[in-house]
């Protein structure tokens, strides 16, 4: 075993680094949770796309480079190390696209993937409902069959915690197409435009006051058959089969954390009394955690070739690990900033640490709470008895 990158991988890294160095904006873009910032981030997505860096792991036919998982890890390392903007297209690239690759039609892929990669279509996810948060199978929003306009579905219901929905173009989610069925049966995976008649989007502000998500009220919103992914009634399987996409590495890539740990080390060198071992040990732990996640990513990428070595249920374990690391790392950053500075939300360069902390706080909640992830690890990986 080794950690040596091939010449091709080194070339790939050099290419990404060179491009990013030349193109990453000098000043951070405005927050993507504002109209202005959303537009700026959309432009950045287009720039990435034009140079082929938007979706490196996708096939070339859809705007990617056909990069391997290792190359994708390399790209992510370089991307975050360069301080490049957050990805406003993340829902489309990391959640929707894997489902289209696995369950979509060729027509859908050709129609949807390129504008998604280019930032032309920015996607909101529309999973949760007021009564279906952690318990996603309890969802009630329904799609009724219609033969209007060549056949399709009429969506009605109430989605919430829909990230990006305040400014996005379209959304995807699960709807109950068979009212006779319960829980995870009789659901279908559909896409719909957020500006269609019958759609009302009510932005919801997160802790920092920015509309990072929204409620979506749907009143008989028409969706043509071509915007159903997979078989009607099989939506749960389609959604879940790609939830642990790339063993969950894609949800938050190791590169994000190695870059953050490096920034933390920098802040520590700049700010801390070098003899203050109490804070130093937390900086060391952040570095150790980020490095562990990075090496686990390399192991997962290597495991594709050598499948039996890949550990199962990595997605749940990864989620628990990075979400807790992320909070610890940013708490340490805030403590390094010290009284006053640590709580300032705007107006200082250092307020990025508070933004990062706010963002990190959502980690143990979204995409399946850490409680649910621990249940999964305990029951499915360790084989402990089911039931809580």
């Amino acid at each position: 075993m080794d950690l040596e990158f091939s010449a091709a991988e080194e070339d790939f890294r050099a290419g990404a680094r060179t491009w990013l160095r030349a193109h990453v904006p000098d000043e951070p873009l405005p927050s993507l949770e504002t109209a202005e910032g959303f537009a700026a981030h959309r432009s950045w997505e287009r720039e990435l796309y034009e140079y082929g860096w938007s979706v490196v792991s996708w096939p070339r036919a859809y705007g990617g480079r056909g990069a391997t998982l290792t190359e994708w890890l390399i790209f992510e390392e370089e991307y975050y190390a360069a301080g490049a903007p957050g990805r406003v297209s993340q829902n489309g690239i990391n959640l929707l696209a894997p489902t289209l690759f696995a369950h979509g039609t060729e027509e859908q892929r050709a129609r949807i993937l390129p504008p998604t990669a280019a930032g032309t279509t920015v996607w909101a996810q529309a999973w949760s409902e007021p009564e279906a948060g952690s318990d996603l199978a309890a969802l009630r929003s329904r799609a009724e069959r219609t033969e209007r306009d060549g056949g399709g579905w009429l969506l009605s219901g109430h989605k919430t915690w829909s990230s990006r929905a305040a400014f996005a173009d379209r959304a995807f989610g699960l709807f109950r197409t068979d009212p006779e069925q319960e829980r995870h049966r009789g659901l279908s995976y559909l896409m719909f435009p957020l500006d269609a008649p019958g759609v009302t989007v009510r932005p919801i502000a997160r802790l920092d006051g920015r509309p990072a998500f929204a409620e979506i009220l749907l009143d008989r919103v028409f969706v043509p058959d071509e915007d159903v992914i997979g078989e009607p009634g099989q939506g749960w399987r389609a959604a879940m089969s790609t939830a642990g996409n790339e063993r969950g590495l894609a949800l938050r890539s190791p590169g994000r954390f190695t870059a953050a740990a490096e920034r933390l080390r920098h802040l520590w060198r700049e700010r801390a009394d070098p003899g203050d071992t109490a804070v130093a040990q937390r900086v060391a732990d952040a570095w150790i955690g980020a490095r562990a996640y990075q090496l686990a990513g390399y192991a997962a990428a290597s495991g594709e070739a050598e499948d039996e070595a890949a550990p199962p249920f990595s997605a749940s374990m990864n989620k628990i690990f990075w979400s807790e690391l992320d909070i610890d790392l940013h708490e340490t950053g805030l403590d390094l900033l010290g009284p006053g500075t640590a709580e300032i939300a705007e107006g200082l360069a250092e307020s990025g640490w508070l933004d990062g902390w706010t963002f990190a706080l959502a980690g143990p909640i979204y995409a399946g709470t850490n409680e649910i992830q621990r249940d999964i690890v305990a029951e499915r990986l360790l084989g402990l008895p089911r039931g809580r």
């Binding site: 919801i204 502000a205 804070v279 006053g340 709580e343 706080l361």
Partner: protein
């Protein structure tokens, strides 16, 4: 020895709690955050009418006496309710400004709000470029100086008037702004008393915020259903909330111990003050993290009132004594976090 609040003390705390529960403190906090201080000021005046700031000032100076334990209990309630404004600083100044100065009288009536820089914010971090970063004594942040009637700066060994520099900066707590201040004229005051009382009352607010976060989380967990049952029936949720309850329970005696130390009791241990700030900070932090986890996405929204406390807890954690400074003070004998 009688280390429990007596009937009168508890009665006063209950009065403050009722007053605040009826007064819509969350609306006042949101108005304050939006730039309208009127409801918050009205709230403070009604608290002052109960004699709250006067509990920090001896009778011969127009107050009701020197009652740090009672003040601590009252500030637990302001923390629980999330009352906006520089109340901690106002009361600390009422206690610490020399009676010969012209300001205390108007602080006692609730007419004026005052603020003061936390000396731990005095390192000029914006220009810091290494461990030997330049420290400008007396330069630091004062909470809400842009709307306070009076602002002071704590400098080495004393207090001065203040001049604000720069624009007010928004805090993680939306009802709180930080304003950089530079020292002006020296003022006759007891800076140790100001710092000690500010530390105590900040600890009290943290405890109150923590208790409210626990109560809100328990109520939500009992009512919110997922997987066909209340989320509060899941053992993992129960145990998290039980841990919060334990942390809060054992922070409160330290708060009272710290209050007795601030009062100057010979039998009190001065280390209880930094210990109280450390314990209240940690308990409130655990309560906030747990509240967020129990509420799920709802606890991550601006509009849900409980998140006002969650954000306030983060801000107060470093105010008037960081965890590191408090631990160090415990080991060196207290009372003031460095």
């Amino acid at each position: 020895m009688r280390f429990v609040p007596d009937r009168e003390h508890r009665g006063y705390a209950a009065t403050v709690r009722r007053l605040l529960a009826d007064a819509g403190p969350h609306e006042a906090a949101r108005a304050w955050a939006a730039g309208d201080q009127r409801p918050g000021r009205a709230l403070w005046r009604s608290l002052a009418d109960t004699g709250l700031p006067a509990l920090a000032v001896p009778e011969e100076q127009g107050g009701l006496g020197w009652y740090p334990p009672e003040l601590a209990s009252a500030f637990v309630e302001t923390g629980r309710a999330g009352v906006p404004g520089p109340l901690v600083e106002t009361v600390a100044l009422a206690a610490g400004l020399h009676p010969s100065t012209p300001w205390p009288a108007r602080l006692l009536t609730g007419e004026h709000l005052a603020t003061v820089t936390d000396p731990a914010t005095a390192t000029d971090r914006a220009s810091a470029a290494g461990p030997g970063a330049e420290t400008r004594p007396g330069v630091g942040y004062a909470v809400d100086a842009h709307v306070a009637d009076l602002t002071f700066v704590l400098v080495a060994g004393g207090l001065t008037t203040a001049a604000a520099v720069g624009t007010p900066l928004r805090s993680v707590d939306p009802g709180r702004h930080l304003v950089r201040c530079v020292p002006g004229e020296a003022v006759s005051a007891d800076p140790r008393r100001i710092r000690a009382l500010a530390t105590l009352l900040t600890a009290a607010q943290l405890l109150g915020a923590g208790e409210a976060l626990l109560e809100g989380s328990v109520a939500y967990a009992g009512q919110r259903r997922q997987f066909g049952r209340p989320v509060g029936s899941f053992q993992a949720v129960k145990h998290q909330l039980a841990s919060v309850a334990v942390a809060l329970k054992f922070a409160r005696p330290l708060l009272y111990g710290g209050a007795l130390a601030v009062r100057g009791d010979a039998a009190a241990d001065p280390r209880d003050l930094p210990a109280a700030k450390a314990a209240c900070s940690r308990a409130a932090h655990l309560a906030a993290r747990t509240a967020l986890q129990v509420h799920g996405a709802l606890g991550y929204t601006d509009e849900y009132d409980l998140t006002l406390l969650l954000r306030k807890a983060r801000a107060l954690q470093t105010a008037w004594g960081t965890l590191a400074a408090c631990r160090a003070a415990v080991l060196t004998g207290g009372p003031l976090p460095g």
